[in-house]
Amino acid sequence: MTLTHPATENKLAPVPAQSIRVSDKWVAHALTFLMVFGPGLIVMEADNDAGAVSTYVQAGAQYGTHLLWLLLLLLPICYLVQEMVVRLPIATGQGHAAMIYQRFGTWWGRFSLPDLLLLNFLTLVTEFASIALVLTKLGVDPRVGVRVAALALTGLVLISSYRRWERIVVLLCLLDLTWFAIAFRVHVSSHELLQHTIIPSLPANGLAAGWLFLVIAIVGTTIAPWQLFFQQSCIADKRLRFSDLRWARLDTFVGAVFTILVAGCMMLAGNAAFQHRWSFSDPTQMAVQLGGGFWPFLKDAILLMMINAAVLGTTTISLSSAWAYGEVKGWPHSLEKPFREAPGFYAVYVLCVMAAAALVLIPGSPLQLIILSVQVLAGLMLPSAIIFLQLLLNDKEVLGERFANKRWNNIVKWIIVILLFVLSLLLAAQVAVPRLFPNS
């Protein structure tokens, strides 16, 4: 079944009742794209979560605009990785976790799924910790604010259909356009911007381990394991068809470009601190300094954008866990189903959100340890998830010639996989054993 088909085909095949008829081919293409649009933008933009805001702002505050070239380099990498994720569910209608169990066996499945669930949960804790921190700066009691956020995030999924959830989350993604206003307000000369985006530059005092690990942290922030699981399950839930492939790829590309641009704007906000030699331990302090130094709007805008980033991260990461667990257990796992038809799926989502929020509200929670654990686990999880993905994309028994990797893009993707594999392990090792690499 194709999404756009001329009336000649309509007469021969039954047309679903809820369809739109248009006479112009380009209008049909545009409408088709809008209907397919969503998972690509959401998975990319949700990756600019609370941790990412912190990493990008810190990169800007430490090195100014000197790391913008890295984002440009990451654009094709993050598109090519997520593009692989698009093909698999369109061909099989299944998520990544289910495919790992089926094609690599229970041992690798049991290695991947609990790792993913644990990593996702710890990441959720950092999202809620960020919400609590920002609310404190905004003068709101975090004990109340975190509870409200957890309830709202639960309600978003429990009372929604897939389409309603997607529309709301796309709207939240588009709120990130505020970062462009923030970047415009802190002003950087276009010459400097262009120069440091196009021409890679190294620190003036040579290559230090600290710089290298910040670069690795940015790579790790831009490509996260949950993204591979999330987009695959999301596309399967949305029931994208074979004919939707090119539009899903375009959706992913648009998402990648938007996300990289927003990340660049975050770095530019950090660059303001670099220029004024402000020191801060977290982005909320920088927001307060920016508000006093430039424009009061900036403080509230950055703080609210941080909450938005954490909310986006929370709903997508929790869903990635719920979908993955539901697939492996064989439970009904769709946002299109009401709670009574998929209780296990919704229970996992609610449990993830509520437990993470509760942990943040416990006084003296080991948040620093949790942040470190997230980085180490992500370093272990990303190589396995991405290698399984690459092997599945070469699995012609499943994908056939049409959907399997072609020779040229296979070479490019193996290079990316090996690069991410090494970088992830380096980051995990550095976080777990800081003395392993001196001067970091």
Binding site: L3, V15, P16, S384, Q390
Partner: protein
Amino acid sequence: MEKDMTAITEFNELTLEEKTFFTVVHPLHDTIEEKVHTEHLGPMQMTRTVRICLFALCGAICF
């Protein structure tokens, strides 16, 4: 053959306006598409590439 002839007749009966229309359907409203069945395939064949990858992963986990 008879089915093809019916289809051609039906197509000829369409007005010019109907012939040039396109129908756009949301994926969730469309009829469910037949996907590749993977359940019966079992585990992936242990080719040299697969072996090397899984070996590298084991090494990384142990490290």
